[in-house]
Amino acid sequence: MTSSILLSATTWVYGLSAFLYLAAWVFHRPGLEAPASWAAAVGLAANTAGFFLRWAESYWLGMGHAPLSNLYESLVFFAGMIVLVHLVVERRTGNRVIGAFSAPLAFLAIAYASLSPNISDKIQPLIPALKSNWLIAHVVTCFIGYAAFAVAFGVSLMYLLRTRAAAPGRLAGRLPEPELLEEWTHRLVVFGFLFLTAGIITGAVWANTAWGRYWGWDPKETWSLITWFVYATLLHARLVSGWRGRRIAVLSLVGFGAVLFTYFGVNLLPGLHSYQTTG
């Protein structure tokens, strides 16, 4: 399948982009930042092309469904969304150090999809439970939210390194200004929260048409709600209690931990979303 080749190429381009961003930051070579951005953009183009080609291929194979139906496909989409969010942030802030923390996340996501022996990249037909128009709305909203939270995680981590009690070392000193990091943690969390809310809601409406209940405390549902609670706490703490800085950054890390558990950890627990594990 051509799309698989395109998507494994994407993996290496994202890897190159992550390497360039990290090298630019660690070895203080600002000249590498622009190539890193270009690599990210080229990777995103290949990722997008691979996504749509895979969609077309599933039609040629007589299945015809959006490539959002299993772990491989969701990871590929997740990686693309991380890069997209990252490039938007980079453009809006004009700061290219952020890539050192978000490009590796995109690379890890797509590398896990491409290289893990447990994840099949074969296009599989949809099982009856997934045959729904809600599939696209649900998965797309969830993963845009997850991607925003992933980039927020990177930005918060930078904030924590930048504002350590000890005077920042040379590496940490080259990170963006704390005010910028603090501001963008908030913006990304707000954006992610809106999409997570939309993702949970589309999931609930779908569950109601497929299983006859909009909420059933299935582990995946419960964990998405736990994630929602964590980020709701962050927003209330910041907007009402006036929390700033490190405490907000820590909550953002905890929130992303909940995102990861909702995405991967839940598969270790029994539940209705179990098709996520197969393939």
């Binding site: 009856p128 809106l194 809310t197 779908w206 006859g212 209940r213 706490t233 209690s241």
Partner: protein, 454 residues
């Protein structure tokens, strides 16, 4: 003795109005929810005893940890959050009432003096003439506009828009209440049941999931057929039940249902949920004549009659009896028929599916045996009524709109001063906003550019 009571009330109100309580409750709900995903919920006691031992089982059960999300203490946390949210919102709305409803007076021009986002330029026209040129633009850009003459003979224009966005957060809070009310309506006035219907059969009662009680529906459901389709890989591709709904024996609706495509009738929704196979009612029977050893086979279904050759009598197949017993011992599913010999009394014949040679024991002239039972499917249906769903969905819409407005719409205010300057005017534009202030300078710049063109 009203003073202490009101102070208790005030303390309660103050306690519930605290954002610290909100944060504690949100984190407690998150933490206890985690517990519910680690401990399997609603399993049989034996499973829990195997997992936690007898003491652990009794301890966890006392804490309601096996049905955690429906336990009194979890619901109490949710209730506390709801009260907290209402008290906080009411408190804030009453404090901001003037601001929220637009009953605030037009602010003094000096309020905009400290604004960071500002632009200034000069114009050859006098303030009054310039005002006539720029006012229509200002009115297009802002929802509420007021004009004042200043002490120095200049003009001051005030404009504001997006005041309604201040309601966004209360819309989100209200939506949470709608979800809780919808859930409550569903659990009080709805039901959640299931029923298995073998192909060709009709049922009118279902079994409720949480109590196990049986419930009679206002209509009967007949399953005409159930089909599973598979992909070449062997994975299932489609589960389809052909259903007919009947009221007092009259057909009122006929429709196929699939997973993700349920059927709704009179507020009750029927979902494709599972399926299975049953011994069918059609059976191939063999009749062996004891005298000649000839074997005659025949496919029959209940109600069919067969005149056995050689004058061995007439056999009527009556029914399939699930889990039958013979002289007190269980023999599994069995067909029951009546054999009417040429002469003598009719006898009842029991034909267990699992024991084909069973009828030999009767020592009759003919031995009847079950050769093959056609398998048939039953469809497993989820049958629900949830009158809370519209309320919950309204909550969903309100929550999305509210979140968008809260986070992405701002209440912006602008002050435009036109002061006499030489023969013309000196113009100062300044803007403030309650959020997303980073976007203000470019907004001011854009508006200033438009104003200059006037």
């Amino acid at each position: 003795m009203t003073a202490p009571r009101s102070s208790v009330g005030a303390a309660l109100r103050e306690g519930f109005a605290s954002i610290r309580l909100t944060i504690v409750l949100l984190l407690l709900l998150a933490g206890t929810s985690i517990l519910g995903t680690l401990i399997p919920q609603n399993e049989a006691p034996a499973t829990y005893r195997a997992l936690f031992g007898d003491t652990g089982y009794r301890f966890f059960r006392a804490l309601d940890l096996f049905d955690l999300y429906h336990s009194w203490w979890f619901q109490l946390l949710v209730l506390l959050l709801a009260v907290n949210l209402v008290v906080c919102s009411v408190e804030r709305v009453s404090r901001q009432w003037a601001l929220l409803t637009g009953k605030t007076p037009v602010p003094d021009p000096r309020r905009f003096e400290g604004a960071e986002a500002r632009a200034a330029f000069e114009d050859p026209r006098a303030p009054a003439a310039l005002l006539a040129a720029v006012e229509p633009l200002f009115r297009r850009r802002f929802r509420r506009v007021a004009v004042r003459e200043t002490q120095t003979g200049g003009r001051f224009l005030f404009g504001e828009s997006g005041r309604g966005s201040r309601w966004g957060v209360y819309a989100v809070h209200a939506s949470v209440l709608l979800l809780l009310v919808g859930g409550l309506i569903g659990s009080r006035f709805g039901f959640d049941g299931f029923v298995n219907i073998p192909e060709g059969e009709t049922v009118q009662t279902i079994q409720l999931r949480n109590t196990g009680e049986r419930l009679r529906l206002p209509f009967a459901i007949r399953c005409e057929s159930f089909t599973v389709r598979f992909y070449e890989t062997g994975a299932p591709s489609e589960f389809r039940s052909r259903l007919v709904l009947l009221e007092e024996g009259r057909e009122v609706l006929r429709r196929d249902i699939l997973v993700n495509d349920p059927l709704e009738y009179r507020g009750i929704t029927i979902y494709q949920s599972s399926y299975g196979t049953l011994p069918g009612r059609e059976v191939q029977l063999s009749f062996t004549s004891r005298e000649t050893g000839m074997i005659y086979t025949r496919e029959m279904k209940p109600g069919d009659e067969f005149a056995i050759p050689e004058g061995l009598g007439t056999f009527v197949l009556l029914d399939l009896r699930p889990n039958a017993s013979f002289r007190g011992s269980p023999v599994g599913d069995a067909f029951v028929g009546r054999l009417i010999p040429r002469e003598g009394e009719a006898v009842e014949v029991l034909l267990p599916v699992r024991f084909p040679t069973f009828d030999r024991m009767r020592r009759g002239e003919v031995v009847i045996a079950v050769e093959e039972v056609k398998q048939r499917h039953y469809t497993g249906l989820q049958v629900n009524r949830d009158p809370g769903v519209p309320v919950v969905y309204a909550g969903f819409v309100l929550m999305l709109v509210g979140c968008y407005v809260t986070f992405f719409r701002a209440h912006r205010q602008a002050g435009l001063r036109l002061e006499p300057h030489g023969g013309g005017s000196r113009v100062v534009l300044a803007m403030t906003a309650n959020k997303n202030r980073a976007a203000l300078p470019s907004a001011v710049e854009r508006l200033a550019r438009e104003l200059r063109r006037r």
